[in-house]
Protein backbone atom coordinates (compact mmCIF):
# COMPACT_ATOMS: atom_id res chain seq x y z
CA UNK A 1 0.00 0.00 0.00
CA UNK A 2 1.57 3.20 -1.18
CA UNK A 3 1.55 6.49 0.58
CA UNK A 4 -1.09 7.99 -1.72
CA UNK A 5 -3.43 5.04 -1.14
CA UNK A 6 -3.08 5.59 2.59
CA UNK A 7 -3.97 9.25 2.21
CA UNK A 8 -7.02 8.39 0.08
CA UNK A 9 -8.06 5.91 2.74
CA UNK A 10 -7.79 8.57 5.42
CA UNK A 11 -9.77 11.02 3.31
CA UNK A 12 -12.65 8.68 2.60
CA UNK A 13 -12.63 7.58 6.21
CA UNK A 14 -12.80 11.15 7.48
CA UNK A 15 -15.44 12.40 5.05
CA UNK A 16 -17.78 9.43 4.76
CA UNK A 17 -17.13 6.49 7.09
CA UNK A 18 -16.29 8.30 10.30
CA UNK A 19 -18.01 11.57 9.48
CA UNK A 20 -17.35 13.89 12.42
CA UNK A 21 -20.91 15.00 12.91
CA UNK A 22 -23.00 12.05 11.88
CA UNK A 23 -21.05 9.12 13.21
CA UNK A 24 -18.56 10.46 15.74
CA UNK A 25 -20.92 13.05 17.30
CA UNK A 26 -18.26 15.77 17.40
CA UNK A 27 -19.12 19.37 16.59
CA UNK A 28 -22.88 19.12 17.05
CA UNK A 29 -23.40 22.60 18.51
CA UNK A 30 -22.43 24.48 15.32
CA UNK A 31 -24.12 21.74 13.29
CA UNK A 32 -27.49 22.61 14.80
CA UNK A 33 -26.72 26.27 15.42
CA UNK A 34 -25.49 27.42 12.01
CA UNK A 35 -27.45 25.15 9.67
CA UNK A 36 -30.48 27.39 9.26
CA UNK A 37 -29.25 29.04 6.06
CA UNK A 38 -27.16 27.64 3.25
CA UNK A 39 -24.95 30.72 3.01
CA UNK A 40 -23.97 30.74 6.68
CA UNK A 41 -23.42 26.97 6.57
CA UNK A 42 -20.93 27.44 3.73
CA UNK A 43 -19.11 30.21 5.60
CA UNK A 44 -18.86 28.20 8.80
CA UNK A 45 -17.73 25.11 6.86
CA UNK A 46 -14.93 27.01 5.13
CA UNK A 47 -13.77 28.53 8.42
CA UNK A 48 -13.74 25.10 10.08
CA UNK A 49 -11.74 23.48 7.24
CA UNK A 50 -9.18 26.30 7.39
CA UNK A 51 -8.75 26.20 11.17
CA UNK A 52 -8.76 22.40 11.36
CA UNK A 53 -6.01 22.13 8.75
CA UNK A 54 -3.88 24.70 10.55
CA UNK A 55 -4.61 23.31 14.00
CA UNK A 56 -3.73 19.74 13.02
CA UNK A 57 -0.37 20.79 11.65
CA UNK A 58 0.53 22.96 14.66
CA UNK A 59 -0.64 20.48 17.28
CA UNK A 60 1.17 17.62 15.50
CA UNK A 61 4.42 19.59 15.52
CA UNK A 62 4.02 20.54 19.18
CA UNK A 63 3.10 17.01 20.16
CA UNK A 64 6.02 15.34 18.38
CA UNK A 65 8.74 17.91 19.03
CA UNK A 66 7.87 19.27 22.46
CA UNK A 67 5.44 17.10 24.40
CA UNK A 68 6.76 13.64 23.50
CA UNK A 69 10.54 14.26 23.77
CA UNK A 70 10.08 15.81 27.24
CA UNK A 71 7.49 13.21 28.36
CA UNK A 72 4.83 15.74 29.29
CA UNK A 73 2.00 14.19 27.28
CA UNK A 74 -0.36 14.73 30.20
CA UNK A 75 -0.30 18.45 29.41
CA UNK A 76 -1.79 17.65 26.00
CA UNK A 77 -5.32 18.92 26.69
CA UNK A 78 -4.21 22.26 28.16
CA UNK A 79 -1.56 22.91 25.52
CA UNK A 80 -3.79 21.98 22.59
CA UNK A 81 -6.73 24.13 23.65
CA UNK A 82 -4.44 27.11 24.24
CA UNK A 83 -2.72 26.66 20.89
CA UNK A 84 -6.08 26.45 19.14
CA UNK A 85 -7.41 29.54 20.92
CA UNK A 86 -4.28 31.52 20.09
CA UNK A 87 -4.30 30.27 16.51
CA UNK A 88 -7.90 31.30 15.96
CA UNK A 89 -7.13 34.75 17.35
CA UNK A 90 -4.09 35.09 15.07
CA UNK A 91 -5.98 33.93 12.01
CA UNK A 92 -8.69 36.44 12.80
CA UNK A 93 -6.22 39.31 13.10
CA UNK A 94 -4.30 38.30 9.98
CA UNK A 95 -7.47 38.00 7.92
CA UNK A 96 -8.71 41.36 9.13
CA UNK A 97 -5.47 42.99 8.00
CA UNK A 98 -4.65 41.20 4.76
CA UNK A 99 -7.92 39.94 3.36
CA UNK A 100 -10.87 42.02 4.53
CA UNK A 101 -13.25 40.33 2.08
CA UNK A 102 -12.46 36.87 3.43
CA UNK A 103 -12.69 38.29 6.95
CA UNK A 104 -16.12 39.61 6.13
CA UNK A 105 -17.21 36.15 5.01
CA UNK A 106 -15.65 34.10 7.82
CA UNK A 107 -15.25 36.71 10.55
CA UNK A 108 -18.24 36.03 12.72
CA UNK A 109 -17.67 32.26 12.67
CA UNK A 110 -14.04 32.34 13.76
CA UNK A 111 -14.53 33.10 17.48
CA UNK A 112 -17.13 30.32 17.64
CA UNK A 113 -14.56 27.82 16.44
CA UNK A 114 -12.38 28.03 19.56
CA UNK A 115 -15.00 26.15 21.53
CA UNK A 116 -15.90 23.88 18.63
CA UNK A 117 -15.05 20.38 19.76
CA UNK A 118 -14.26 19.33 16.19
CA UNK A 119 -10.97 21.22 16.17
CA UNK A 120 -9.73 19.87 19.49
CA UNK A 121 -11.17 16.49 18.54
CA UNK A 122 -9.12 16.16 15.37
CA UNK A 123 -5.98 17.29 17.21
CA UNK A 124 -6.48 14.54 19.79
CA UNK A 125 -7.33 11.91 17.17
CA UNK A 126 -4.07 12.81 15.39
CA UNK A 127 -2.06 11.92 18.47
CA UNK A 128 -3.44 8.38 18.42
CA UNK A 129 -2.87 5.59 15.94
CA UNK A 130 -3.84 5.74 12.28
CA UNK A 131 -6.54 3.10 11.88
CA UNK A 132 -5.42 2.27 8.34
CA UNK A 133 -1.74 1.70 8.96
CA UNK A 134 -1.78 0.96 12.68
CA UNK A 135 1.16 3.34 13.12
CA UNK A 136 1.17 6.87 14.58
CA UNK A 137 0.04 9.62 12.20
CA UNK A 138 2.80 11.24 10.14
CA UNK A 139 2.78 14.99 9.60
CA UNK A 140 1.21 14.77 6.12
CA UNK A 141 -1.35 12.24 7.29
CA UNK A 142 -2.44 14.36 10.20
CA UNK A 143 -2.82 17.48 8.03
CA UNK A 144 -4.83 15.49 5.47
CA UNK A 145 -6.93 14.05 8.28
CA UNK A 146 -7.57 17.54 9.64
CA UNK A 147 -8.60 19.04 6.31
CA UNK A 148 -10.68 16.05 5.29
CA UNK A 149 -12.48 15.92 8.63
CA UNK A 150 -13.27 19.60 8.08
CA UNK A 151 -14.62 18.79 4.62
CA UNK A 152 -16.74 16.02 6.13
CA UNK A 153 -18.09 18.51 8.65
CA UNK A 154 -18.90 21.03 5.92
CA UNK A 155 -20.51 18.31 3.80
CA UNK A 156 -22.88 17.33 6.62
CA UNK A 157 -23.55 20.99 7.48
CA UNK A 158 -24.45 21.91 3.90
CA UNK A 159 -26.69 18.86 3.46
CA UNK A 160 -28.46 19.77 6.67
CA UNK A 161 -28.85 23.44 5.72
CA UNK A 162 -30.33 22.46 2.37
CA UNK A 163 -32.87 20.20 4.05
CA UNK A 164 -33.70 22.81 6.69
CA UNK A 165 -34.38 25.47 4.08
CA UNK A 166 -36.96 23.15 2.51
CA UNK A 167 -38.34 22.20 5.93
CA UNK A 168 -39.30 25.84 6.52
CA UNK A 169 -42.02 25.43 3.93
CA UNK A 170 -43.18 22.00 5.07
CA UNK A 171 -46.16 21.34 7.28
CA UNK A 172 -44.66 19.87 10.46
CA UNK A 173 -46.78 18.51 13.35
CA UNK A 174 -46.89 21.01 16.19
CA UNK A 175 -45.04 18.83 18.68
CA UNK A 176 -42.15 18.27 16.29
CA UNK A 177 -41.90 21.82 15.00
CA UNK A 178 -38.52 23.47 15.38
CA UNK A 179 -35.65 21.46 16.77
CA UNK A 180 -37.17 17.99 17.25
CA UNK A 181 -37.79 17.59 13.52
CA UNK A 182 -34.21 18.73 12.88
CA UNK A 183 -32.93 16.03 15.21
CA UNK A 184 -35.02 13.43 13.41
CA UNK A 185 -33.66 14.66 10.08
CA UNK A 186 -30.13 14.36 11.45
CA UNK A 187 -30.97 10.83 12.61
CA UNK A 188 -32.13 9.84 9.13
CA UNK A 189 -28.97 11.33 7.64
CA UNK A 190 -26.88 9.40 10.15
CA UNK A 191 -28.77 6.25 9.17
CA UNK A 192 -27.83 6.87 5.54
CA UNK A 193 -24.21 7.46 6.52
CA UNK A 194 -24.15 4.13 8.35
CA UNK A 195 -24.23 2.61 4.88
CA UNK A 196 -20.76 4.00 4.20
CA UNK A 197 -19.27 1.85 6.93
CA UNK A 198 -19.35 -0.93 4.33
CA UNK A 199 -16.70 1.02 2.38
CA UNK A 200 -13.85 -0.51 4.32
CA UNK A 201 -10.83 -0.58 2.03
CA UNK A 202 -8.02 -1.99 4.05
CA UNK A 203 -9.51 -4.63 6.26
Amino acid sequence: MGNIAGLIGISIGAVLINNFVLSRFIGLCPFFGVSKKLSSATGMGMAVIFVMGLASSFTWLINSFILQPYHVEYLQTIVFILVIAALVQLVEMALQKYSPSLYEALGIYLPLITTNCAVLGVAIINTGLNQFTGAPFTFIESVVNGIMSGIGFMFALILMAGIREKLELADVPELLDGLPIVFITAGLMALAFLGFSGLNFFS
Partner: protein
Protein backbone atom coordinates in the same frame (compact mmCIF):
# COMPACT_ATOMS: atom_id res chain seq x y z
CA UNK B 1 -31.81 28.57 47.81
CA UNK B 2 -30.23 25.18 47.28
CA UNK B 3 -33.58 23.64 46.42
CA UNK B 4 -34.38 26.42 43.96
CA UNK B 5 -31.00 26.04 42.31
CA UNK B 6 -31.44 22.30 41.92
CA UNK B 7 -34.88 22.78 40.42
CA UNK B 8 -33.50 25.32 37.99
CA UNK B 9 -30.60 23.11 37.00
CA UNK B 10 -32.68 19.99 36.45
CA UNK B 11 -35.90 21.45 35.01
CA UNK B 12 -36.25 25.05 33.90
CA UNK B 13 -32.64 25.52 32.78
CA UNK B 14 -31.84 21.92 31.98
CA UNK B 15 -28.60 22.16 30.00
CA UNK B 16 -29.36 19.51 27.38
CA UNK B 17 -33.09 19.62 26.70
CA UNK B 18 -33.82 23.30 27.30
CA UNK B 19 -30.60 25.19 26.63
CA UNK B 20 -29.29 22.68 24.07
CA UNK B 21 -25.73 22.91 25.37
CA UNK B 22 -23.24 20.09 25.52
CA UNK B 23 -24.91 17.99 22.86
CA UNK B 24 -21.82 16.21 21.58
CA UNK B 25 -20.90 14.27 24.72
CA UNK B 26 -24.54 13.67 25.59
CA UNK B 27 -25.31 11.98 22.30
CA UNK B 28 -22.02 10.17 21.92
CA UNK B 29 -21.72 8.76 25.41
CA UNK B 30 -25.33 7.86 26.19
CA UNK B 31 -25.07 4.37 24.69
CA UNK B 32 -25.15 2.81 28.16
CA UNK B 33 -26.22 4.01 31.60
CA UNK B 34 -22.80 3.43 33.16
CA UNK B 35 -21.15 5.61 30.52
CA UNK B 36 -23.81 8.28 30.86
CA UNK B 37 -23.48 8.55 34.63
CA UNK B 38 -19.68 8.44 34.43
CA UNK B 39 -19.61 11.27 31.92
CA UNK B 40 -22.18 13.27 33.89
CA UNK B 41 -20.25 13.01 37.13
CA UNK B 42 -16.94 13.84 35.45
CA UNK B 43 -18.50 16.97 33.92
CA UNK B 44 -20.12 17.87 37.27
CA UNK B 45 -16.75 17.65 39.00
CA UNK B 46 -15.07 19.87 36.41
CA UNK B 47 -17.97 22.33 36.38
CA UNK B 48 -18.11 22.70 40.16
CA UNK B 49 -14.35 23.07 40.63
CA UNK B 50 -13.95 25.51 37.76
CA UNK B 51 -16.93 27.56 38.97
CA UNK B 52 -15.36 27.84 42.43
CA UNK B 53 -11.90 28.78 41.17
CA UNK B 54 -13.20 31.25 38.61
CA UNK B 55 -15.42 33.02 41.13
CA UNK B 56 -12.37 33.27 43.42
CA UNK B 57 -10.07 34.81 40.84
CA UNK B 58 -12.64 36.84 38.91
CA UNK B 59 -11.21 40.16 40.15
CA UNK B 60 -7.65 39.26 39.13
CA UNK B 61 -8.48 38.46 35.51
CA UNK B 62 -8.37 41.36 33.05
CA UNK B 63 -11.58 41.52 31.08
CA UNK B 64 -9.99 41.11 27.64
CA UNK B 65 -8.25 37.80 28.30
CA UNK B 66 -10.94 36.26 30.48
CA UNK B 67 -11.96 33.49 28.03
CA UNK B 68 -8.43 32.02 27.67
CA UNK B 69 -8.05 32.23 31.47
CA UNK B 70 -11.30 30.34 32.00
CA UNK B 71 -10.24 27.74 29.45
CA UNK B 72 -6.94 27.16 31.26
CA UNK B 73 -8.73 26.66 34.58
CA UNK B 74 -11.20 24.25 32.98
CA UNK B 75 -8.48 22.36 31.10
CA UNK B 76 -6.55 21.89 34.35
CA UNK B 77 -9.50 20.17 36.01
CA UNK B 78 -10.18 18.11 32.90
CA UNK B 79 -6.58 16.89 33.01
CA UNK B 80 -7.06 15.94 36.67
CA UNK B 81 -10.19 13.97 35.76
CA UNK B 82 -8.38 12.34 32.84
CA UNK B 83 -5.48 11.16 35.01
CA UNK B 84 -7.76 9.98 37.85
CA UNK B 85 -9.96 8.08 35.43
CA UNK B 86 -6.99 6.42 33.73
CA UNK B 87 -5.71 5.31 37.14
CA UNK B 88 -8.88 4.13 38.85
CA UNK B 89 -11.50 3.50 36.15
CA UNK B 90 -9.54 2.34 33.09
CA UNK B 91 -12.54 0.51 31.59
CA UNK B 92 -14.76 3.61 31.72
CA UNK B 93 -11.90 5.71 30.38
CA UNK B 94 -11.62 3.42 27.36
CA UNK B 95 -15.39 3.60 26.74
CA UNK B 96 -15.57 7.39 26.93
CA UNK B 97 -12.37 7.73 24.92
CA UNK B 98 -11.91 11.09 23.24
CA UNK B 99 -14.90 12.58 25.07
CA UNK B 100 -13.00 12.90 28.36
CA UNK B 101 -10.53 15.50 27.01
CA UNK B 102 -13.39 17.06 25.06
CA UNK B 103 -15.04 18.11 28.34
CA UNK B 104 -12.82 21.19 27.94
CA UNK B 105 -14.90 22.45 25.04
CA UNK B 106 -18.23 21.47 26.58
CA UNK B 107 -20.23 24.68 26.16
CA UNK B 108 -22.05 24.15 29.47
CA UNK B 109 -18.89 24.65 31.51
CA UNK B 110 -17.59 27.72 29.71
CA UNK B 111 -21.14 29.06 29.59
CA UNK B 112 -21.59 28.81 33.37
CA UNK B 113 -18.16 30.35 33.96
CA UNK B 114 -19.06 33.32 31.79
CA UNK B 115 -22.68 33.74 32.81
CA UNK B 116 -22.62 32.83 36.50
CA UNK B 117 -19.27 32.28 38.20
CA UNK B 118 -17.77 35.51 36.92
CA UNK B 119 -20.58 37.50 38.56
CA UNK B 120 -21.37 35.64 41.80
CA UNK B 121 -19.58 34.71 45.01
CA UNK B 122 -17.81 31.42 45.71
CA UNK B 123 -20.60 29.68 47.62
CA UNK B 124 -23.30 30.56 45.08
CA UNK B 125 -21.08 29.42 42.20
CA UNK B 126 -20.37 26.15 44.00
CA UNK B 127 -24.11 25.45 44.37
CA UNK B 128 -24.73 26.48 40.77
CA UNK B 129 -22.02 24.11 39.56
CA UNK B 130 -23.53 21.19 41.44
CA UNK B 131 -27.07 22.02 40.31
CA UNK B 132 -26.28 22.40 36.62
CA UNK B 133 -23.95 19.39 36.78
CA UNK B 134 -26.70 17.25 38.28
CA UNK B 135 -29.11 18.51 35.62
CA UNK B 136 -26.62 17.34 33.00
CA UNK B 137 -26.15 13.97 34.72
CA UNK B 138 -29.91 13.40 35.06
CA UNK B 139 -30.56 14.24 31.40
CA UNK B 140 -27.70 12.01 30.30
CA UNK B 141 -29.10 9.17 32.41
CA UNK B 142 -32.56 9.61 30.88
CA UNK B 143 -31.10 9.46 27.38
CA UNK B 144 -28.90 6.48 28.25
CA UNK B 145 -31.72 4.52 29.88
CA UNK B 146 -33.94 4.90 26.81
CA UNK B 147 -31.12 4.06 24.43
CA UNK B 148 -29.74 1.13 26.38
CA UNK B 149 -33.12 -0.50 27.02
CA UNK B 150 -34.29 -0.11 23.42
CA UNK B 151 -30.91 -0.75 21.86
CA UNK B 152 -29.50 -3.66 23.83
CA UNK B 153 -32.30 -4.51 26.31
CA UNK B 154 -29.91 -4.21 29.24
CA UNK B 155 -29.28 -1.97 32.24
CA UNK B 156 -26.06 -2.36 34.25
CA UNK B 157 -25.53 -5.59 32.28
CA UNK B 158 -28.88 -7.12 33.33
CA UNK B 159 -31.68 -8.03 30.97
CA UNK B 160 -34.72 -5.74 31.35
CA UNK B 161 -37.70 -6.90 29.33
CA UNK B 162 -37.96 -10.65 28.68
CA UNK B 163 -38.81 -11.65 25.11
CA UNK B 164 -38.02 -8.26 23.60
CA UNK B 165 -35.82 -8.09 20.56
CA UNK B 166 -33.49 -5.06 20.98
CA UNK B 167 -33.23 -2.58 18.13
CA UNK B 168 -29.51 -2.12 17.66
CA UNK B 169 -29.99 1.16 15.79
CA UNK B 170 -30.66 2.89 19.12
CA UNK B 171 -27.12 2.39 20.37
CA UNK B 172 -25.69 3.44 17.01
CA UNK B 173 -25.36 7.07 15.93
CA UNK B 174 -28.87 7.59 14.44
CA UNK B 175 -30.54 6.34 17.62
CA UNK B 176 -28.98 9.18 19.58
CA UNK B 177 -30.67 11.77 17.38
CA UNK B 178 -33.99 9.93 17.44
CA UNK B 179 -33.93 9.59 21.23
CA UNK B 180 -33.26 13.26 21.88
CA UNK B 181 -36.02 14.22 19.44
CA UNK B 182 -38.38 11.87 21.27
CA UNK B 183 -37.54 13.29 24.70
CA UNK B 184 -37.89 16.88 23.50
CA UNK B 185 -41.24 16.00 21.98
CA UNK B 186 -42.48 14.51 25.26
CA UNK B 187 -41.29 17.55 27.23
CA UNK B 188 -43.14 19.82 24.82
CA UNK B 189 -46.27 17.66 25.05
CA UNK B 190 -46.37 17.90 28.84
CA UNK B 191 -45.58 21.60 29.01
CA UNK B 192 -48.29 22.30 26.41
CA UNK B 193 -50.80 20.31 28.42
CA UNK B 194 -49.95 22.25 31.57
CA UNK B 195 -50.71 25.54 29.84
CA UNK B 196 -54.18 24.46 28.68
Amino acid sequence: MIKENLKRGIFSENPIFVLLLGLCPSLAVSTSLVNGIGMGLAATFVLTCSNVIISMIKRLIPDKVRIPCYIVVIATFVTIVQLLMKAYLPALDKQLGIFVPLIVVNCIILGRAEAYASKNNVFKSFIDGIAIGLGFTVSLSVLSIIREVLGSNKLFGLKVIPSFNPMAVFILAPGGFFTIALVMMLIRYYSNRKKV
